[in-house]
Amino acid sequence: MTREEGAAIVEAILFTMGDSVEINALAKAMEEEPKNIKEYIAYLKEKYEKEDSGIGIIELDKAVQLCTKKEMYEYLVKIAKAPKKAVLTDSLMETLSIIAYKQPITRLEVEKIRGVNSDHAVNRLVEFGLVQELGRLDAPGRPLLFGTTEEFLRSFGVRSIEELPAIGTVQVEEFKAQAEAEVNLKLDI
């Protein structure tokens, strides 16, 4: 099939399904190689970038999904009800950031970092579909391991967890400099 035909089929499937569809599933349904599918997706992406398109395509791990362009938000809120979003309290956000960066992680490890029992927070995040069980750790008690879901990627606008803002020593050094600056400030007064 031509690129145009392939792109049309991918568009139709994504439009109908609403949810994300795996590239492999597209390949199977269309009886094509995954690399061709990726080409069709690239074609669509280009088409959607034009000014006359109100929709876009997001890539998640190994799946793709259609969405509206961010610029359309102001018009959408006027006519449609905003989709219900999980309201994340500070303690949920804290827990989520630890799970996102340290996955796969057990409840106990989360608790160690936060210094406070986090079972409730983890359970809530699982309920919200942002966190999921990944299996069990091969250790005494076989504790459950948790990680983020595709819904997490979608909600935070990244394609994979590798795309999360880097966390590391740089940040820590910054804190150090900040703290030192504060101390000097205090001494100056």
Binding site: C67, K70, P83, M93, G115, R154, V158
Partner: protein, 249 residues
Amino acid sequence: MSLEVKLQVFEGPLDLLMHLIDKNQIDIYDIPIVTITEQYMAYINAMQKEDMDVTSEFLVMAATLIDIKCKMLLPKEVNEDGEEEDPRAELVEKLLEYKMYKYMAYELKDMQMDADMQWFRAKDLPQEVKDYEMPIDFSDLIGDTTLTKLNSIFQELLKRQEDKVDPIRSKFGNIEKEEIDMDAKTLYIKAYIREHDRFSFRQLLEKQHSKTEIIVTFLVMLEEMKLGEIEIEQETTFGDIIITSRKAS
């Protein structure tokens, strides 16, 4: 330093510590442990007074702080490389790690707000597609799962449950919190002293039902002695204590 009248709620002990460090504008690598411990304890006391939920985690941190405070007074321990170890090092590391994730949580929140502007679409299958039924391939689904495997998984689950039940403590029966009204107990013992001019401490203790009651009784005795209401005599070490009411003599 006085605490705010309205107590802030903190996620946990690390959150509270970070707040104190920020408020005092302290270098996290050089925490004045005495000051911070005092402020931390003051906060916990205030929390207890306000009847807020002081979880065990807060108390554990209090113990840790006091432990570090003590270690700071002792000569510094030296590690293998001959370097002096800072008793605060472990706490600092924990605080930094916590602060880092807290910071990332804010970053994530921003990202979430941005991503919220993209909207999706609900699945909407045309009726003709909806009506079509495709069979599930069960042999594919089950794969190499056998009943024996299913059985062993269940056994393992049961064992895990069993492990959760502490074989010793589960036999203790219920532990109930005793409600002792301190004031009532004090009044009762004072009345006892008034009624009995001279009595045995041991006998009085025998009327008490629990450890807490005994402790309260003991405390009331000390208080009465301090006020000069009673006098005590003890003939031999560990012998019975005879209490005489001052009014009687």
